[in-house]
């Protein structure tokens, strides 16, 4: 059994370390739950991003801590998605997209041209707002990327398939129709399948771009619950417009805002502080719903 996969009884029992009232925050880092090793996984300094001559992000600096859920909030069009895409170099796919600044992941320079991008993306999974299962069977959806990374043995593939589908709570629902189309699944199931597909590659990080916003409230709750269970095992960076959700699940939160027509990071800190004692007046206005 691979230790990286979550079992229903997680060795990190988060409930021990948190009282329900504080479930969304870490408290001081020293006393935080073990999910939040105060170890910087991503270190981002002065990140700017331009599409052609149009700036999309300006001077973003922040650290992402290992094992935590970091929520990025802010109005539409303030560059949160662009920011996520810089972290797994998906920006490479966009013509005339230019990234400057310093991004380090585990002390590796993410902007280096010698970086093995395919392996990087294996380490840093991404979940998109629109559910994106491939037009293949459920099984093939999980297997295709695995085979791409050299895992070809059927016995091995079957074990991984079952593990990841169990991890996302989809196994019982689909175990009898693994070979039927993934497109026939409901929206929530599709999104969980996409998460399973990313988990199958044993990533260290999951980038989630509004993973719940295309789902109905019930499916959204299921996915949110899943994200919560992934805490500690994976470092999660989630973009969300649902402030209540950010408040419920995140350890850290960053607030983005558009200023001078480019997205910038107004405030970054522990989730509780951002929501309850924001330092910046824009943050306060946004989280209280009076702006944005």
């Amino acid at each position: 059994m691979n230790p990286l996969f979550i079992e229903s009884a997680t060795p990190l029992d988060l409930a021990e370390h948190k009282t329900p009232e504080e479930s969304y925050t870490l408290g001081p880092i020293q006393t935080g739950p073990p999910c939040c090793v105060p170890r910087t996984l991503f270190s981002i300094k002065n990140l700017s991003l331009n599409y052609g001559s149009t700036p999309a992000l300006k001077n973003i600096s922040l650290d992402i801590y290992e094992g935590c859920i970091t929520a990025l909030i802010g109005p539409s069009g303030c560059g949160k998605t662009s920011f996520l895409s810089t972290l797994n170099r998906l920006t490479d796919m966009i013509p005339d997209c230019k990234v400057t600044g310093d991004i380090r992941f585990n002390d590796i320079n993410l902007r280096s041209s010698q970086l093995d991008v395919l392996n990087l993306r294996r380490d840093i999974g991404m979940i998109f707002q629109k559910t994106m299962p491939f037009p293949l069977s459920i099984r093939r959806n999980i297997e295709l990327p695995l085979r791409e990374h050299g895992i070809n043995k059927n016995s091995e593939l079957n074990v991984i398939l079952q593990q990841v589908l169990q991890d996302v709570g989809l196994w019982e629902e689909v175990k009898d129709r693994l070979d039927s189309s993934a497109l026939a699944l409901s929206g929530g199931q599709q999104q969980r399948l996409c998460i399973a597909r990313a988990l199958a590659l044993q990533p260290k990080v999951l980038l989630m771009d509004e993973p719940c916003s295309a789902l109905d409230p019930l499916s959204s709750a299921v996915v949110e619950d899943l994200i919560n269970r992934l805490r500690g095992r994976y470092t999660i960076i989630i973009v969300t417009h649902n402030l209540a959700q950010a408040k419920r699940i995140a350890n850290y939160a960053g607030f983005f805002w558009v200023s001078e027509r480019a997205g910038c990071l107004i405030e970054f800190g522990q989730c509780k502080q951002i929501f309850e004692a924001p330092a910046h007046e824009l943050t306060a206005a946004y989280v209280n719903g009076s702006r944005g």
């Binding site: 797994n88 998906l90 796919m93 013509p95 395919l118 392996n119 990087l120 993306r121 294996r122 999974g125 991404m126 998109f128 629109k130 994106m132 491939f134 037009p135 293949l136 069977s137 093939r140 295709l144 990327p145 791409e148 990374h149 039927s180 189309s181 497109l183 026939a184 996409c194 597909r197 990313a198 590659l201």
Partner: protein, 278 residues
């Protein structure tokens, strides 16, 4: 009559005119060609310059010419389409140049292709009047159709597939083979059928390249007469060949009709089959 009424009337009128012309043509060919059509007509060799006998050798030559044309044009066309959609950006100078050239190529009259084929394949490359020359000339002619439809097909595949495949650490080639090409298959097949239809009906480009010889061909280097050339020859150069020209035309139209129906039903079939098994 209201403005709307006039517009409706005109639209219906033009639709009826178009269909009417097609039906007239079809009725004429059927009424004059059906009588000469028989199993023997399809399997016997032409005699007396085509006035009597059948069209067996003509059908074989047509098939071989088509085969050469499609076998050459399909891989070239697919490769070009992949290059244009996946490996160049839509507004790159090179991509725009290639697409503009294709548009021009698509508009060139087939007789010009015939002369080009004659000069280049028959004389310069020394292939002579042969089905190989004819097929290669047709390949040049249908290339723009194939590339255009394959490009459209690949461009209409959801960009999401490219993004999610990349986010899973898959290479572009692998995304192309496992996701994009299978998704684009309806368009690829439709384009292929369109190309076959166009090539199958071509006359002018073949007269100067694959020639007139109506014997059963021994190899691709033989001259061979395509069905459309046969029809042209019978109705223009052979006195008393009209009846057989009509029968040959009926065979050709039936073939084109089948190709058309097969392509549209294949496209539909793939469209409705929501899962691609690999």
């Amino acid at each position: 009559m209201s403005k709307n009424g006039i517009a409706t009337f005109l639209i219906w009128l033009s639709a009826c005119l178009v269909t009417g012309v097609f039906l007239c043509l079809l009725m004429d060919i059927i009424s004059q060609g059906l009588a000469g059509l028989s199993w023997a007509y399809l399997v016997e060799s032409p005699q007396d310059a085509g006035r009597s006998g059948g069209i067996a050798s003509i059908i074989v030559s047509s098939g071989l010419i088509l085969l050469v044309a499609i076998a050459t044009a399909a891989p070239l066309g697919l490769a070009t389409a992949v290059l244009l959609t996946e490996f160049t950006t839509q507004n790159s100078t090179f991509g725009r140049f290639v697409e503009r050239s294709l548009d021009v190529l698509a508009g060139i009259p087939s007789i010009v292709f015939g002369l080009f084929g004659n000069a280049f394949f028959c004389i310069y490359l020394g292939l002579g009047f042969s089905m190989l020359s004819g097929g290669l000339t047709l390949a040049c002619m249908v290339l723009p159709i194939l590339i255009r439809s394959a490009t459209e097909g690949l461009r209409s595949t959801p960009n999401d597939y490219r993004l999610s495949a990349a986010a899973l650490g898959m290479t572009r080639t692998s995304a192309l083979i496992h996701l994009l090409l299978p998704t684009a298959i309806p368009a690829l097949v439709a384009g292929l059928m369109l190309g076959i239809g166009r090539a199958g009906a071509e006359t002018a480009a073949l007269i100067f390249t694959s020639g007139y010889v109506d014997r059963m061909p021994d190899s691709l280097m033989d001259s061979g007469r395509a069905l459309s050339v046969h029809i042209y020859d019978l109705s223009m150069n052979v006195a008393g060949g009209d009846a057989n020209a009509n029968s040959a035309a009926l065979v050709l139209i039936t073939f084109l009709f089948i190709i058309n129906s097969v392509s549209s039903s294949l496209a539909n079939h793939w469209m409705h089959r929501r899962i691609i098994r690999l």
